[in-house]
Assembly symmetry: C2
Homo-oligomer: 214 residues x 2
């Protein structure tokens, strides 16, 4: 009765082939630059074969990004975390910026492109809220730790709000860089300087002056 299993395995193999081909094109060309036909050509299938495995182009690249994000999140969490809660937040911010900088097309598709609202599916639900695989949950966890340790000003008690603001701050640096870094209108300072200043400003703004450092 291993027949069904083998068929499923075969199907998921060509599914993976599609994803790999799509990934290779996506990394250099971005969402708009990749066509279903090009993906199909790369694996020597007809364009419509993709629709057996994915509902449409959007879902294909959504799945692609989900996989790659999970893998990168794994790398991220495996790195050592600073013990000091504020330094931990700085660390997370830096990693996040690295990530967005190295995979700009992923970042554009996932965080800079409005998508129609979609109910989370089972696979989403497995990730959501789990700091091991969900970067936002990791951030929220680190923020809560900082609150509990008294590192923030006492009026800052909403971990959700603080997390969303911190996310927005590093997102601002990354996304503005991706969209505008080659715009001659602005004399851009080095990305790293902007990133460090952003982390410096926000963490200073959060810090509880009553709690001395060290």
């Amino acid at each position: 009765m291993g027949v069904k299993e083998r068929r499923e395995r075969e199907k998921s193999e060509t599914r993976d082939k599609i994803l790999d081909a799509a990934r290779e094109l996506f990394v250099t060309e971005g969402y708009e630059g990749v066509s279903m036909r090009k993906v199909a050509e790369k694996i020597e299938y007809s364009p419509t074969a993709i629709y057996v495995h994915f509902a449409d182009k959007n879902e294909l690249f959504h799945e692609l990004c989900r996989q790659d994000f999970a893998r990168l999140q794994e790398v991220m969490k495996s790195a050592e975390m600073p013990a000091d809660p504020l330094e931990r937040l700085r660390h997370i911010g830096r990693r996040y910026i690295d990530f967005g900088t190295h995979f700009p097309h992923h970042y554009v598709f996932m965080f800079m492109t409005p998508h129609p609202a979609h109910e989370p599916d089972d696979e989403d639900r497995e990730i959501m809220g789990n700091p091991e695989v969900d970067a936002y949950a990791l951030l929220k966890w680190a923020v809560q730790q900082a609150i509990d340790a008294g590192c923030f000003r006492p009026e800052l008690q909403d971990a959700e709000l603080v997390s969303q603001t911190l996310w927005a701050s590093v997102h601002g640096v990354i996304s503005l860089n991706i969209a505008k870094h080659q715009d001659p209108w602005v004399e851009w300072r080095p990305l790293q300087d902007r990133a460090e200043m952003m982390l410096d400003l926000t963490l200073r703004g959060l810090r509880n002056p009553a709690k001395e450092v060290r």
Copy 2:
């Protein structure tokens, strides 16, 4: 010899008709949602007529945004500016966020979409660096004022770097909101709360503790 003038006026009239039709569609549908054919249909011209007035779709909407930005910047600067340099920065940040919130499609096209680098033309050069019409120049000016007034920590002397970071901070709030506000993954706090917290954090982070308030 007013013939040439009349012809030019007529031409710029249909140019304006194109821009108005494009704008109406653009505001509700966004860049990808508007086609040249739809714009043409709206003004009862053939699609290719547009190419007499604009090199391509990108240029059409670039011009559209340039016009609308200039108009809005006019509104922005006409409002009274707080005397205190830090409050002035907060004021600018709030206006900027209002703007991005009310014209999300403009904002997406101008600040969230990577465009190929293009040399500034004459019209661009007229705007660039002029705080009256260039929002970034206005921000830089306000930052320099704050530096000169000693409102920032003394090590913060690079107005360009500070401006870019402040811009990124509010840009982060706006753009993340546009792209993700309907994502059920995150329990979003109200936009205004996130905006105010961002301004609070960054301005606190900049403030010179040696200079007492008031």
